[in-house]
């Protein structure tokens, strides 16, 4: 049981680093750098780097939530956390699930249009790029309390 929980927690943390690491790469590095990149070099980002980063980003999000829920279930506190009886971890779990929903159902569909990975009206691309950016920023904002909540479950702040 202890070994099983260790492995699930380890996979949860590994997936989380993959997810939040790429989220912060997008927000701290790629988005602010785009205006400084010459137009002829921008396809390297839009056609090569961003699609690859988005692949690891969305599956990182999926497996972070998957292993997180599995960890809570196997530890016996899943329902209590989701009902906020264990508010420390419960709030973080809800924030993480909202963020993963944003990744899969808002950011990823919008990015597919913005990056030209699916057929769409050209006029729609800037609108979808802005939507993806705003929800990516929303996730960056939520990642700060989410990570605090995750840590406070084992190291209470107050």
């Amino acid at each position: 049981m202890e070994a099983e929980l260790f492995i699930i927690r380890y996979l949860h943390v590994l997936s989380g680093i993959m997810w939040i690491g790429i989220l912060w790469y997008f927000n701290f590095v790629q988005i602010p750098s785009m205006p400084k990149i010459p137009d002829e070099q921008k396809p390297a980002i839009g056609k090569v780097i961003a699609p690859e980063a988005l692949f690891w980003f969305r599956w990182g999000a999926f497996f972070t939530v998957f292993f997180g829920l599995a960890l809570a279930f196997r530890s016996g506190y899943l329902a209590e956390a989701l009902m906020l009886e264990y508010a420390n971890i419960g709030i973080g779990m809800w924030l993480g699930m909202i963020m993963a929903f944003n990744v899969w159902f808002i950011i990823w569909p919008a990015q597919k249009i913005a990056l030209g990975m699916v057929d769409a009206d050209a006029a729609l691309k800037p609108k979808m790029a802005r939507r993806a950016m705003l929800f990516s920023r929303t996730n960056t904002m939520l990642s700060i309390p989410m990570l605090a909540s995750m840590i406070s479950f084992q190291n209470p702040i107050m």
């Binding site: 602010p32 508010a87 920023r137 904002m141 939520l142 406070s152």
Partner: protein, 48 residues
């Protein structure tokens, strides 16, 4: 909200503010779920 999210520094500030709000909200939720004896013990522990 859109103006805050367009700015990375403001996004970070908003995240820190949310964290502080969350810490107090968590404390309030935990307190509301404690029985009177548990609350008394918790208060003593916090004052040590």
């Amino acid at each position: 909200m859109g103006k805050i999210l367009e700015s990375l520094p403001l996004t970070i500030v908003a995240g820190v503010v949310l964290t502080v709000v969350m810490i107090f909200a968590t404390e309030a939720i935990n307190d509301s779920q404690m029985s009177a004896p548990e609350k008394a013990v918790s208060d003593v522990m916090n004052s040590m």
